[in-house]
């Protein structure tokens, strides 16, 4: 069943679906349509967001200035120690470099920056133009690695060679070159790596604290508050716990194949998914540590005892309000839909930039009839959906915010730039509070669409 909405371009109709209206066949994982103002970014963006939180590595963007400057300290990825990742390094390629090649400049820049900052490793990101002028990143990195005695890793992230997903893959490949180079002798048999968490607003610390209460050792954070030395030895962990946005799934698969480290997919958003994630981990280790199950259920019970009464308080004001969700990876959408049930809110639109067919089938299963499901959307479509569904709160990233606000709709930033921790049980509380704060504001009374409604009632 195709969707008939005027705002949807003919060629995009296969990427919009309504729950309950025929079988879902989402034409996703396509290149963005020219001229459609996609909310997606590029390959480079995918690599940059995954690797960027590794705080003691130097991240050098080999390209013209834009790619580096737009990703300078872009996420709220916190570090408990070094903060080298928060600086924006670039070779700032100029016209003559484009003509004569940028390898010499890259080498000189690496020489200078490594001496200045003494990093534990360097990631060198390729950009569109490097892919065209054909600089041999691999060779320059090898030379510099030998010269400086630290890993200097090329990231093949030419912007035009796919979408964000290919960037995730390039990042995983770069990290995988580090894996297996560190000592694993003192790692506990009850140990995990946290994959696919970027420590926005300190979220990974919340998860690590839960794991500590369960008696589980965390070997490496990949990549929030990440350290090169941890990545080097992370093949020694017993289990990879992958938050399933797809960003780091490739790395988990590579580690499973080469080092036999199994992985499970989890989500730390919302109540059920957070609790389930901990139970899966407990389940994995119950033979080694028989008490882990009790410890985990105690943890979940203690946390919920605090959380549930608070949620009930928010729910009173939020019951029945309508929500639209548009996020990067579909995994987040699943968790958010469940989270909104606890607040009594109705999800009327859900979409993602990079979901798979399987993701969209699952979304159709867990959403109410009539819910709009959309892949790789754009401002015109999103605004049409907001209007059609009379949305009260929109959950998205910074590019969606002005669309919601312009139409007088509440908003919760669930993307890279959020400064509120939204993971874990405490994150669910923060999330509910943020939604509540936006939804109950008196300002909506003055926005045109509400003023008009008021006028109609009078």
């Amino acid at each position: 069943m195709k969707c008939e909405t005027a705002a949807v371009l003919e060629e995009r109709k296969g990427q919009v679906h309504r729950t309950g209206q025929g079988p879902i066949e989402m034409a996703c994982n396509r290149d963005s349509l020219a001229g459609a103002v996609s909310q997606r970014a590029c390959v480079f963006c995918g690599s940059r967001v995954v690797l960027y939180p590794i705080a003691d590595a130097l991240h050098l963007v080999h390209g013209p200035i834009g790619c580096a400057v737009y990703t300078w300290d872009i996420r709220g990825s916190l570090s408990s120690g070094p903060e080298l990742h928060r600086l924006s390094f670039s070779t700032d390629l100029q016209e003559k470099d484009v003509i004569f090649g940028g390898e010499k400049k890259l080498e000189a820049a690496l020489d200078e920056l490594i001496d200045r900052h003494d990093p534990k490793a360097v990631f060198v990101y390729s950009t569109c133009i490097v892919g065209i002028i054909g600089d041999d990143l691999e060779a320059v990195c090898r030379t510099m690695s030998e010269k400086k005695g630290i890993p200097v890793l090329p990231v093949q992230s030419e912007g035009f060679k796919g979408s964000k997903r290919e960037g995730y893959n390039a990042a995983c490949k770069a990290m995988f070159r580090l894996v297996g180079t560190g000592d694993t002798s003192d790692i506990s048999p009850v140990s995990v790596n946290i994959l696919g968490d970027f420590n926005l607003a300190g979220e990974i610390w919340i998860i690590r604290e839960y794991l500590e209460r369960m008696g589980v050792e965390v070997v490496a954070n990949i990549s929030g508050d990440g350290r090169v030395a941890d990545v080097r030895r992370c093949h020694g962990a017993a289990l990879n716990v992958v938050q399933c946005s797809g960003a780091t799934l490739d790395l988990a698969k590579m580690m499973e194949e080469k080092y036999g480290v199994p992985y499970i997919r989890v989500s730390y958003l919302g109540i059920e998914d957070m609790a389930d994630s901990l139970y899966y981990i407990a389940d994995h280790f119950k033979d080694i540590d028989p008490e882990i199950t009790t410890k985990t259920s105690n943890l979940v019970r203690d946390e919920l005892e605090v959380l549930m009464p608070e949620l009930a308080r928010f729910r009173k004001d939020l019951e029945g309000k309508k929500v639209a969700i548009y996020v990067g990876g579909a995994f987040k959408a699943f968790s958010l839909i469940k989270a909104f049930r606890h607040l009594g809110m109705q999800v009327v639109m859900v979409g993602s930039q990079t979901g798979t067919e399987e993701d969209y089938r699952e979304l159709e299963e867990i959403t109410d009839p009539g819910t709009i499901i959309v892949d790789d959307s754009n401002p015109l479509e999103l605004s049409a959906f907001i209007k059609e569904k009379d949305v009260d709160v929109f959950v998205g990233g910074v590019k969606e915010r002005p669309i919601a606000f312009k139409m007088g709709v509440g908003f919760c930033d669930h993307n890279h730039e959020r400064k509120e921790a939204l993971e874990g049980f405490v994150g669910m509380f923060n999330f509910a509070r943020e939604i509540h704060t936006s939804a109950i504001s008196p300002v909506w009374k003055f926005v045109p669409r509400r003023e008009q409604k008021e006028a109609e009632h009078e």
Partner: protein, 449 residues
């Protein structure tokens, strides 16, 4: 003061060329900025711009993939234009290139020509293109280039001479554009401001989402710019070919090149041109504004006299700020920009003659360079955009935010610095920044300052 010449860039003090072009194209009525390149460029720039203006900012992209990079991006550019036409019904599409399409050698004007031939039966928008490889220049070159391209490609032949005035204000805030339009109105002058982002990037709450935000310079007004009595163009560091110069050369429209009217003297010069052009004397309200400003400078001078400031940002903004600092007794010690036109020192020499000490002037810098020198120079305050915040925090020095981007404060799009009124607002903020610091640092907790 020696300076190592670094190869690498750390925390750049500039943005890339296509961003400036996209912003300028946003200031034309019913116009869609369109980047010919990979999808990421448009998305990154949108995010960056949205975080400052807090307004929707659609930038279309030809979203090139690997095969387009090999075989040329022409087909995707055409397809993208058709899609933009379908969904936005624009009057103008402003096509800016990126490093990708410049390097693969796409001949954009040729492709657009072909497009017009192929789809001549459709109701086509005006197509403007500007070459903006990001490995050349900064966002200011993109802005100036896009405005020049519009003057060059959209303007009709001269048919008469009207009393209208063209204004090319440069990259100033929507708040300042509104302010400038008011000034013209009060002189009784009809003005065409290009670009005019006063509404497109600072609009009201809406019932229906507008695919293209209302406002912007109407196309008809741009087309008729050749008929204007004169042009006024702000900027002392502009390239040889600008919109104003183009109109002067092609249609004989005299161009008054002025510094950005920041502070008393630069605003006096602006008022002087307006008075001569309109044949009216400066309206009383501006004489009063000027009088109040001078009064305020006297009231506040002891708080800030001799304070040492680091100033960074786009060249012409920085020149305007130095001009004003020289009038209020703040000593600029380091004046820095990410651009490299070689014009900054000359411009500062023209506006900063009252300075007791000449500042260190640096072009083509990043924040690593700025920090390295500022550490030795021990500033009392810093004036510039948001990206210097972490350095100011380390130094324990207040940052007075001006320019673009303002990502860590509210209301950047409404900040005013131009004219006597803008100078007043800026002056108040500078004095208050110094007072706030003094109050916070004092253990006494003064209630009067």
């Amino acid at each position: 003061m020696s300076k190592t010449n670094y190869v690498s860039t750390t925390n750049a003090c500039k943005l890339c060329t296509p961003l400036g072009a996209s912003l300028a194209f946003r200031g034309v009525e019913k116009s869609v900025p369109f980047l010919h390149g990979s999808q990421g460029c448009a998305t990154y720039m949108r995010r960056y711009i949205i975080s400052h203006f807090r307004e929707p900012m659609d930038i279309a992209s030809s979203a090139l993939g690997e095969k387009h990079a090999v075989y040329g991006g022409g087909p995707n550019l055409k397809k993208g234009l058709l899609n933009v036409m379908k969904k936005y019904s624009p009057r103008v599409v402003g096509v800016a290139t990126t490093c990708l399409t410049e390097t693969i050698g796409d001949h954009v004007s040729g492709i657009l020509h072909e497009f017009k031939e192929e789809f001549g039966d459709l109701d086509l928008p005006e197509l403007v293109h500007v070459s903006t490889p990001s490995y050349n220049g900064t966002h200011m070159d993109g802005w100036t280039g896009a405005v020049q391209a519009m003057a060059d490609q959209l303007v009709f032949e001269k048919t008469e001479t009207t009393e209208s005035v063209n204004l090319f204000p440069g990259m100033v805030s929507p708040g300042d554009v509104r302010n400038l339009k008011d000034i013209f109105e009060h002189f009784g002058l009809d003005v065409t401001v290009l670009p005019d982002i006063s509404e497109t990037l600072d609009g009201p709450a809406l019932l229906d989402y507008e695919p293209i935000p209302s406002g912007g310079t109407p196309v008809e007004r741009i087309q008729a710019m050749s008929n204007a009595a004169c042009s006024i163009e702000f900027g002392r560091c502009l390239p040889g070919s600008t919109a104003g110069i183009t109109l002067e050369n092609k249609y004989g429209v005299p161009c008054h090149g002025l510094g950005m009217p920041v502070g008393i003297r630069e605003t006096d010069r602006f008022m002087d041109v307006l008075a001569k052009t309109s044949g009216r004397s400066v309206p009383r309200r501006y004489l009063m504004d000027r009088g109040r400003l001078v009064d305020a400078l006297v009231d506040g001078h002891k708080y800030i006299s001799g304070k040492r400031a680091v100033i960074y940002g786009e060249e012409d903004l920085v020149v305007g700020l130095v001009a004003f600092m020289s009038e209020i007794g703040v000593q600029p010690i380091l004046v820095a920009t990410g651009s490299k036109t070689g014009k900054l020192a000359g411009a500062i020499a023209k506006v900063g003659s009252d300075l007791r000490q000449q500042p260190l002037i640096r072009e083509g810098v990043d924040f690593h360079d700025i920090a390295e020198q500022a550490d030795e120079l021990a500033p009392d305050l810093v004036i510039g955009h948001s990206k210097g915040y972490r350095y100011c925090r380390d130094w324990g020095v207040p940052l007075v935010r001006v320019g673009f981007p303002i990502h860590d404060r509210f209301g950047g799009q409404r900040l005013r610095i131009l004219g006597y009124g803008g100078a007043q607002k800026l002056y108040d903020r500078i004095v208050n920044a110094v007072l706030e610091k003094k109050q916070a640092d004092s253990h006494i907790g003064y209630g009067y300052l």
